[in-house]
C-alpha cells in the first residue's frame, strides 16, 4: 500500500503543473461562467442577484442575439466550405511530384504564420474604397466603387473572404500531410490497371483522405465559431450588427457594456455549439470514416 501511495505521489508530481493550470484557467472558469450566467453582476464582475435561466430566456427573445447568431452561422457557411475546398485543391496540386514543389508548399502554407491582426490590417487596406486594390480592379473592369466593409450587404462576406485567406495555410498543411500519408503504391497499382486520374481522386484519394478531411472540417468549424480578431479590426461588429459574431458579441457585452452575467450566458451557448461539433466529430469519425 505505501508503495502505491508513493507511485501516485510521484506520478501526480509530473502532472500537477498541468492539472493546477487546467483547474485555474479551464475548469474553474467554465463552472464560473455557468454560475455567472445565472446571475446579475456588478461592474467588477461580482454576482449580485440570482436570476436562474432568465438570461437564456432573454437571449432567445433578444433581437441583437438573434442577429448575432445569424451572423455567426452565415460566417461559418461563408468561411468553412471555401477554406476546405480551396485548401484541398491546393494540397492536391502541391502533392504532385515536381522539382521545386517544396517551395510552392511553403508559399501555400505561409498564411499559417500570419497573425489575425496583421492579415486584417492588410485586408482592410485592400478593401479601402478610395485607394484599395479591390476597388481599383473593380473599376478597371468597369464596375463601380463599393464600400465593402460599410455596406451591410457585403461586410460579412468581405470579412469572410479575408478569413478564408488566413485559414488556408493551416488547412492546406494538414490536408497535404494527409495526402502524403496515402501509400503511393495504391496509385501505382491504379495506374497499371488504367484508372483515370479523376477516378483515382474519387475512388482512392477522397476515401482515404476522409479522416484528415473530417478533422480539418471540424477544426475549421470550431475555429470559425471562435472568430474575433478580424471582426474587431475590420468592422467592429457593424454595419448594423451584420458582423457581430458570437465571440464579438460576448466581448462587447462583457468588456464594453460590463454586463458579465448576460455575456456569460452567451459564452455558455458558445460552449455548447463547440461541444456539439466535437461530439459529432467523434461519433461520425468512428463510424463513417475510413481509417487506414
Amino acid at each position: 500500500m505505501p508503495h502505491t501511495v508513493k507511485r501516485v505521489i510521484e506520478g501526480g508530481m509530473y502532472i500537477l503543473p498541468s492539472l493546477l493550470l487546467f483547474s485555474i484557467f479551464v475548469f474553474y472558469p467554465m463552472i464560473r461562467t455557468l454560475y455567472l450566467s445565472m446571475h446579475m453582476t456588478d461592474f467588477q464582475g461580482n454576482p449580485t442577484t440570482y436570476v436562474g435561466f432568465e438570461h437564456f430566456v432573454y437571449l432567445f427573445e433578444d433581437r441583437n442575439f438573434k442577429e448575432s447568431m445569424k451572423a455567426t452561422f452565415l460566417f461559418v457557411i461563408y468561411t468553412v466550405p471555401p477554406t476546405v475546398i480551396i485548401s484541398l485543391c491546393l494540397a492536391l496540386l502541391a502533392n504532385e511530384k515536381l522539382r521545386g514543389i517544396q517551395l510552392f508548399r511553403t508559399f501555400f502554407s505561409s498564411t499559417l504564420g500570419m497573425s489575425v491582426a496583421a492579415s486584417s490590417v492588410i485586408w482592410m487596406f485592400m478593401y479601402n474604397p478610395a485607394v484599395g486594390v479591390i476597388n481599383k480592379i473593380l473599376i478597371a473592369l468597369g464596375g463601380e466603387e463599393r464600400q465593402w466593409l460599410l455596406n451591410p450587404d457585403t461586410a460579412l462576406a468581405a470579412v469572410a473572404a479575408a478569413t478564408v485567406w488566413m485559414n488556408i495555410g493551416f488547412a492546406f498543411l494538414i490536408l497535404l500531410g494527409g495526402l502524403q500519408n496515402i501509400d503511393s503504391t495504391l496509385y501505382e497499382s491504379a495506374e497499371i490497371i488504367g484508372m483515370s486520374r479523376l477516378y483515382q481522386l474519387w475512388r482512392i484519394t477522397l476515401p482515404l483522405l476522409s479522416p484528415t478531411l473530417f478533422f480539418v472540417i471540424t477544426v475549421s468549424l470550431i475555429h470559425a465559431f471562435q472568430t474575433f480578431g478580424q471582426i474587431d479590426i475590420l468592422t467592429k461588429g457593424g454595419p448594423m450588427n451584420t458582423t457581430t459574431v458570437l465571440v464579438y458579441s460576448i466581448y462587447r457585452e462583457a468588456f464594453v457594456n460590463y454586463n458579465f452575467g448576460f455575456a456569460s450566458a452567451q459564452a455558455i451557448v458558445l460552449f455548447f455549439i463547440v461541444l456539439i461539433v466535437t461530439i459529432v466529430q467523434f461519433t461520425f469519425a468512428e463510424r463513417k470514416v475510413h481509417y487506414q
Partner: protein, 271 residues
C-alpha cells in the same frame, strides 16, 4: 511530349495559385514603401525604395517596445508549455499509477472547452491576482496545453518501452530517465511544439487586448490595431511597414519549420 505539356501547365497553375495566395503579403510589402502622397495619387509600385515608413513606424509608436514584449511573452509561453507539457506527457506514457486515466480524461476534457467561453472569469481571475499589465497574466494561463501534451505523448509512445524497463532494472530514477533519455530522444517533437506555441502566442489577439492597457507589456498585435485606428487614411504606408515587421519573424519560422510543423500538427491532432 504530352508529359512536358502536362508539366508546364502544372507549373503554370502552381505559379498562378502562388501569386493569388501571396498577393496580400506582396501588396503590403509594396505599399510599405509608398508615401501618403503617392498613395493618394493611386500609385502602387514605389518610385524609390526608401525605408522612411519603417523609420516612422518605430518613431510614431513604441514598436520596438511592442516587439520586445511579444518576443518575451512568446518565449516564456514556449518554454512554459514545453516544460509543463513534457512532464505531463512523460507521466502519461511511462508512469503507472492509480488515477492516471482519470487525469488523462480530464486533459481530453479541456479540449472541449473553447478558450473564448472561459475568457470572462479568466479575465476576472487575472485581475484579482493583480496580473493585468504584467507578463504573468499574458503567459501563465497558456502554460498548460492539451494539444502540447498530446503531441509529446504521441512521440514519447514511439520510444521503446524496453528502454524504460532497462532503466528501471539498472535503478535509474524516473526524473533522470526523463531528462537524459526521453527529452534528448524527442528533440524534433519538442522543437515542433516550441515553434507552434511561439507562433500562436505571437499571433494572439483577444487575450492581450483584454489584459494590457498600456505600452509596458502590450504586444505587437495590439500595437498594430492601435496604430491602424489612429493613423487611418493618410499613413497607410507606415501601417504596412509595421505589418511587414510584425509578420517577418513568424513567416521565417514557417519557412524554416514548415515540414516539421506539418508532421507535428498531424501527430498531435489526428492519431
Amino acid at each position: 511530349m504530352s508529359l512536358l505539356i502536362k508539366k508546364i501547365s502544372l507549373y503554370a497553375i502552381l505559379v498562378i495559385c502562388t501569386i493569388i495566395m501571396m498577393f496580400p503579403i506582396g501588396y503590403a510589402f509594396l505599399i510599405s514603401f509608398l508615401s501618403g502622397a503617392e498613395l493618394l495619387q493611386g500609385k502602387w509600385w514605389p518610385t524609390t525604395w526608401s525605408i522612411k515608413n519603417y523609420v516612422i513606424a518605430f518613431e510614431k509608436v513604441p514598436l520596438g517596445r511592442y516587439l520586445w514584449n511579444s518576443f518575451v511573452v512568446s518565449f516564456i509561453v514556449m518554454v512554459g508549455q514545453l516544460v509543463v507539457s513534457s512532464l505531463a506527457a512523460f507521466a502519461f506514457v511511462f508512469l503507472r499509477f492509480p488515477g492516471r486515466d482519470l487525469l488523462f480524461f480530464l486533459t481530453i476534457l479541456t479540449m472541449l472547452i473553447p478558450w473564448e467561453a472561459t475568457v470572462i472569469p479568466n479575465y476576472l481571475t487575472v485581475q484579482s491576482f493583480g496580473w493585468t499589465n504584467n507578463y504573468l497574466g499574458l503567459t501563465i494561463p497558456f502554460f498548460a496545453s492539451a494539444f502540447g501534451i498530446f503531441l509529446l505523448r504521441q512521440h514519447f509512445k514511439t520510444i521503446p518501452f524496453e528502454l524504460y524497463e532497462s532503466a528501471q532494472v539498472s535503478g535509474m530514477k524516473h526524473f533522470r530517465f526523463f531528462w537524459y533519455v526521453v527529452l534528448p530522444l524527442s528533440k524534433t517533437s519538442l522543437a515542433t511544439l516550441g515553434v507552434y506555441s511561439f507562433l500562436t502566442t505571437w499571433n494572439m489577439y483577444l487575450w492581450p487586448l483584454l489584459v494590457t492597457n498600456d505600452e509596458s507589456v502590450r504586444t505587437v498585435q495590439i500595437g498594430l490595431k492601435q496604430m491602424q485606428t489612429q493613423e487611418m487614411a493618410t499613413e497607410w504606408g507606415v501601417v504596412m511597414a509595421a505589418v511587414m515587421i510584425i509578420i517577418l519573424p513568424t513567416l521565417i519560422l514557417i519557412f524554416i519549420g514548415q515540414k516539421q510543423l506539418q508532421k507535428g500538427l498531424m501527430q498531435g491532432a489526428i492519431k
